[in-house]
């Protein structure tokens, strides 16, 4: 940002093209930032939208997370009730403040980093709300989630505002887009993958898979992927598709990652593993039998 501000002082000119350049420079420096969103935030936003009041066209709320030099991480959020009419917008600031304090209690590390709204556009009212959030934190992020599904997808966009125009005269604000990425930690990834399955069911609900079904589906997927690879290799060998060196290298890595060992070694490792497992199954079965027996005896006596 510093660089941008310097540029602004230096280029105090009315020349139209120069102003244009200047605008580019600012948005360039903003662009360097990245927004990482955890999926739970998006889920909350959509859930909030589904629960909106009858007359509300969109919902807004506060985004919480942390900011470092190059990126903004959005970890959670909460909705804030608001009212929008033709020429006026009212947010319940008191609500936002107390909700933030409550949130602070359970997540002491989260700070306000910006705000969200549903819808595909940044509206005029957004500017007013954005100004409020600028007072809460410097350079807030504005995230929009397109719940109207324009272009048949739910676009998630992030913006930051920057001033543009002639200093001293009328100044405008532009919302310049920032690249936005969904970031997943290990368990979150598992959770999301699991939830993905609801897309393909008619009832929109799923029951949890057992461990065995899990292995089953994973091996099916493995087979499918291997099939793709084999088909590709066959096509390259037949000369239908030009070979790609980097793909070749990856394939080589893949092949070499399978450990080479003799049949006997492998058998012995496998067998010892199986025996371990069998023993433990036997032991746990024994425990179970023992306690059931204990209970039966207790009731008989």
């Amino acid at each position: 940002m510093d660089q941008g501000l310097c540029g602004r002082a230096g280029k105090l000119v009315t020349n139209k093209t120069r102003v244009y350049n200047f605008k580019m420079a600012v948005s360039e420096s903003v662009r360097a930032r990245k927004v990482f969103v955890h999926p739970v935030v998006l889920f909350s936003i959509v859930d909030g939208f589904e629960r909106r009041s009858e007359d509300a066209k969109r919902v807004i709320g506060t985004l919480l997370g942390s900011v470092d030099k190059t990126s903004v991480e959005i970890r959670s959020c909460f909705g804030v009730p608001h009212n929008e009419s033709e020429d006026e917008v009212a947010i319940e600031l008191e609500y936002a403040k107390s909700m933030f304090e409550l949130h602070k209690k359970s997540h002491p590390n989260d700070e306000i980093v910006g705000w969200y709204a549903t819808g595909s556009d940044v509206t005029e009212h957004s500017l007013l709300i954005h100004e409020y959030y600028s007072r809460e934190t410097s350079n807030p992020v504005h995230v929009t989630v397109d719940t109207t599904l324009k272009g048949s997808r739910m676009g998630v966009r992030a913006y930051q505002s920057c001033k543009m125009g002639v200093p001293g005269k009328t100044e405008g604000t532009i919302f310049s887009p920032i690249p936005c990425e969904v970031i997943l930690t290990g368990p979150e990834r598992v959770g999301v993958n699991w939830l993905q399955r609801t897309k393909n069911t008619a009832k929109q609900s799923i029951s949890p898979l057992s461990d065995m079904q899990h292995v089953n589906s994973a091996s099916e997927r493995l087979l499918e992927m291997l099939g793709t690879v084999v088909a590709y290799v066959d096509e390259v060998l037949a000369g239908k598709v030009p070979g790609n060196n980097s793909v070749g290298r990856e394939l080589m890595d893949l092949v070499t990652s399978v450990p080479r060992m003799s049949q006997e070694d492998f058998e012995s490792i496998l067998n010892s593993n199986m025996q371990d497992l069998l023993m433990i199954v036997y032991l746990s079965g024994l425990c179970k039998t023992q306690i059931s027996l204990g209970e039966k005896l207790a009731t008989v006596l």
Binding site: P39, V46, F78, S106, M154, T198, S210, L270, I291, E295
Partner: protein, 339 residues
């Protein structure tokens, strides 16, 4: 609140009369992610995390549509009132944005399924006695990080509720009620639901972070997980053993007392007989129970809990072994085709 002493174990028998029977639980995807995130945030602390579940009840189905975490308790244990205020405040706020504000239970994380204990029982009892339908949702972060989301929903069974209300867990009562350790908690089947909008969001998430397919759980290493599990199992069995010893001691003491009592009465009778022969009046009757105080029967609650815990561990080990076998056979096939 209606007295629920009916011995309905089958689940359907009382569904006609009372609406309190919950036979399925539906959890929103949002709740799943929120719990996962809460656990993730607090993992550094290493403690168990807890929170409140919000939702609504529809016929026999409990819908959990939102949740919020309890603040971590490291600030001090004495701020009970603060906690209550926090909860009330949070629920009021959420109500303002049209979130279901019915308190339908609570969630807790667990380490390898070691959740069957007195604390859980106490909390769930107080929940169920104030809100009949409430459930506890158990989330296992370790298993989840291995690639298998583990969520389970439990309630105390009716029998357990009545037993616990009387707070008397001696052996005879237990035998009379026929409460087995397996019937203490009832697990309720869980389904996960996402709305259509959420489903379309999921499509978008897939685009925004493409590398979502991980098969970490196909890893063949079994040692550490099994090791930990078996260690826990061993600990519980040890404790169970101690408890059994305690109970045995008690039985032995009771038997000894019985013997002493009999010996005493025999002696008395013999003495009375000799006195009668000598023409003296018999000794005055003494209250036997004063001389031999009835022994306090130890509570069998620990036994119940420990048994159930052992049962849980065994089940867990079994499940883990089953899928490990699957993976091993998979590896075998892979290695076999390699040549």
């Amino acid at each position: 609140m209606a007295e629920r002493g009916s011995s309905s174990q089958s689940g359907n028998s009382s569904s006609s009369g009372s609406t309190s029977r919950i036979d399925s639980v539906q959890v929103d995807g949002l709740v799943v992610l929120k719990i996962i995130k809460h656990c993730q945030d607090e993992r550094q602390a290493g403690d168990l995390v807890q929170g409140v579940l919000l939702g609504l009840i529809q016929n026999n189905k409990l819908e959990i549509t939102n949740c919020f975490p309890f603040p971590s308790t490291k600030a001090g244990e004495d701020d009970d009132e603060d906690d209550v205020n926090y909860q009330m405040e949070m629920m009021r706020r959420l109500r303002a944005v049209n979130v279901d504000h019915l308190h339908v239970g609570w969630y807790q994380s667990t380490y390898l399924g070691s959740f069957v204990n007195k604390t859980l029982l106490d909390s769930q009892f107080s929940y169920q006695s104030s809100i009949e339908e409430s459930v506890v949702l158990i989330y296992d972060p370790l298993k989840t990080s291995q690639g298998m989301l583990s969520l389970k929903v439990f309630r105390l069974s009716d029998k357990m509720m009545t037993m616990y209300k009387e707070a008397d867990f001696n052996a005879e009562k237990l035998a009379k009620s026929g409460l087995s350790f397996e019937a203490m908690f009832e697990e309720i089947p869980l389904v996960i639901r996402n709305s259509s909008l959420i489903n379309s969001l999921l499509c978008e998430v897939e685009v925004l972070s493409p590398h979502t397919q991980t098969d970490e759980f196909l890893s063949l290493s079994t040692g550490s997980y099994l090791g930990k599990n078996v260690r826990l199992l061993m600990e519980s069995v040890d404790e169970l053993c101690q408890d059994a010893n305690k109970f045995n001691n008690h039985l032995r003491n009771v038997a000894r007392q019985q013997q002493q009592k009999e010996a005493y009465t025999q002696r008395r009778q013999a003495e009375n007989a000799t006195r009668h022969n000598r023409g003296e009046p018999p000794l005055p009757d003494e209250d036997l129970s004063k001389i031999f105080k009835p022994l306090q029967s130890p509570s069998r609650l620990d036994y119940l809990l420990l048994s159930q815990q052992v049962n849980t561990y065994s089940k867990q080990v079994n499940q883990f072994s089953t899928h490990s076998f699957g993976k091993l056979f998979l590896a075998q096939a892979l290695q076999g085709n390699d040549k």
